[in-house]
Symmetry: C2
Subunit: 365 residues, 2 copies
């Protein structure tokens, strides 16, 4: 359903890739300020060489660019440049540019094709795949959006070379997640080749990205509308992570860092409820530790708060009358499921408390 | 594809209709100020009686409500009222409420079901059917939007009783249009029963609405994405009408009034290019005349401007390099097609000039 191409350097082949996929050579290219500075001139020159007609648009490199205001300004520029339904939109950047670009493409003239050219690890392995596009509302993240599948996802791991290390680590959380939920061999491959991957060495980094993108794409294809519970397994660790992100008011921590901590909690809950044995729990925590636990403020936020207060934040966007949390658990490393039953609060609290212990113990090693 | 129910009084059956169509009884009810005043209390009481949980929202009764600003305010109210993906949205009003409601439903939490309860003739026969939903951008009407099919369209002709006569006439333009493009018998039935329909007498008015809704729905089903040219036939008369609307800066004229004039031009062009014979041209103009030609300012606008200036306005949203207009023509009364070739300007000018003559002659009768 997603046509995903992993190739270096992918931008030399845009002309043929677009033609082969029935896309016109009239393209709105959306950047954020960083990706415009880093890759803009070269990419736009290549487009010109390859016979493209393009319009380049730039937004500030921050989460607040995913807003109605920004979208409205961009629509205006597109209208004034005579962009019509024969055009498409190429989003060059991380999840912010991808989500915003997808939102605009989904709604401009009732929809033009979106092509994703992700430049962060998170975008390559997660946000660019699956067709969820959204902007934020002042009252909540990602509330306004659509399903608008990309016509092409063009992944070139070479873009990662300029990415700050913290973004690499944050992105690795989702990569490891795919191993946990769907592919035991992959998980242990990541474990074995940790240092090569983190150093962006080939073929290890491409394997990590390709397999992640494949797993996400498979899951999405089998459960596009989130009906069977399969797509929900992509949220392994995320119920805890969202609580933590709220607790920190979305500042000082990257989503991936919250997910790493959330996965420690989810492993601990899987064990606490009797689904995952002790040995696999320890192994899981060890792998997460290897790919680096978040430190500094993030770590203090997690270890410093009471388990009760984290649970409160996890529940905070639930209705007063329906305080049910849903959890994705592991049966074994490489195999996740969505638990249908409600988990009683005391189990969740216990899992958080134990996760803190595991976290501290691992750090002490 | 659209489940269309034509029934009086339809609101007594909302509970069963929703259940039968797999819709939950949690509904955001969107009105404009007029429909809220006219039908709000009764409808909301009925919903309560039938076991619904509802949230009512009201927007000003004007075209400018189809904006990002209004949408953003409504999202906010929905978020604060804990509206989630288990809810749906019921739009009660004309095309403005229907388009705005559809836009919001398409984008809230990546999409909740939309149910249309149209209360204008235009909405019953046109805007509520077919899944096009949109808001306006300061630089152009309906530019931002999606395809989001309604789960149910609930048509109750009784709502028309409070509708101003001018809106009835404007709506009739599209009704007659369906006869022209797709159903000769229907066209002559409308002709025969003109006075009963315009007086909202049964069964004539219900027949007119039902058949119109059916034709639109059939056409949309066969060509949802506007690929084959079939859906384009719904734009019979509209290329001219849009020019006229622009010329009048969208003020002082209803869309349907512009469409009536546009259809006179399109009939004249069909004849001028040799597709429609003289007798059918005259018959077509006579029927349009019967259902009332717009008068006052609108008429003066059309008759007073040069044909060249109308053509300029028709071309004004086209690219400088690609000034091609596409026309829907009639082969005979009841059978339309989209002309693939470009029509030379002098043919268009001649058609406009002749349409003015036909218009004047018909008025003189
Ligand atoms: N749609 C989905 O399914 C989905 C899934 C997960 C996350 N998201 C969204 O993704 C967003 C986060 O994405 P992100 O983590 O990629 O953040 P981001 O887009 O903000 O990028 C992070 C930073 O890296 C910079 N950057 C991007 N590429 C670079 C490169 N190659 N070299 C140097 N710097 C570079 C960016 O300018 C930015 O400053 C959030 O808004 C989140 O809601 C969406
Ligand atoms: N989505 C589509 O396919 C499509 C097709 C055609 C038109 N449209 C859109 O529809 C809109 C025009 O729709 P409209 O003509 O229904 O206008 P409208 O929604 O503005 O309604 C016209 C007026 O009638 C009032 N009204 C509504 N129902 C009434 C009733 N039963 N009794 C008394 N007053 C009533 C309204 O409050 C308003 O003042 C435009 O925005 C146009 O772009 C959309
Ligand atoms: Zn995530
Ligand atoms: Zn129309």
């Amino acid at each position: 359903m997603n046509t995903i191409i992993v190739k270096t350097p992918v931008t030399r082949h845009l002309g043929e890739l677009f033609s082969k996929n029935g896309l016109s050579k009239k393209t709105v290219v959306l950047f954020d300020e960083n990706t415009r500075n880093l890759f803009g001139s070269e990419l736009l020159d290549l487009l010109t060489e390859q016979g493209f007609q393009w319009l380049d648009l730039v937004v500030p490199a921050k989460e607040t660019s995913k807003s109605f205001n920004t979208a409205n300004k961009l629509y205006g520029k597109m209208i004034l440049a005579d962009v019509d339904r024969s055009w498409n939109l190429l989003a060059v950047g991380g999840g912010v540019v991808g989500d915003l670009g997808g939102f605009i493409a989904a709604s401009y003239y009732r929809g033009i094709p979106i092509i994703q050219l992700p430049t962060t690890l998170l975008a390559m392995t997660d946000s660019s795949i699956g067709g969820k596009v959204a902007i934020n509302h002042p009252l909540g993240k990602n509330l306004i959006g659509f399903f608008h599948l990309p016509r092409l996802v063009l992944i070139d791991p070479a873009y990662l070379k300029t990415l700050p290390m913290r973004e690499i680590h944050a992105g690795m959380a989702e990569v490891v997640k795919y191993g946990f939920i769907a592919d035991r061999d992959f998980l242990f491959r990541l474990d074995r080749h940790f240092s090569e991957i983190i150093a962006l060495e080939e073929p290890f980094v491409t394997d990590a990205i390709r397999r992640s993108a494949e797993i996400k794409s498979d899951v999405v294809e089998k459960d596009f509308r989130e009906e069977s519970g399969l797509r929900a397994t992509l949220n392994f660790g995320h119920t805890f992570a969202h609580g933590l992100e709220k607790l920190a008011d979305y500042r000082y921590l990257r989503h991936g860092e919250a997910v790493t901590i959330g996965m420690v909690c989810a492993l601990s809950l899987s064990h606490g409820l009797g689904y995952l044995n002790r040995e696999e729990l320890d192994q899981g925590v060890r792998i997460l530790r290897k790919f680096r636990f978040p430190h500094g403020l993030v770590q203090r936020r997690f270890l410093g708060e009471s388990s009760e207060s984290l649970l409160e934040y996890m529940l905070s966007d639930k209705k007063k009358l329906d305080r049910k949390l849903r959890f994705v658990l592991l049966k074994s490393l490489g195999s996740a499921f969505l638990l249908e039953e409600t988990v009683e609060d005391h189990h969740v609290l216990k899992a958080i408390t134990e996760a803190k212990e595991l976290f501290k113990k691992a750090l002490a090693c």
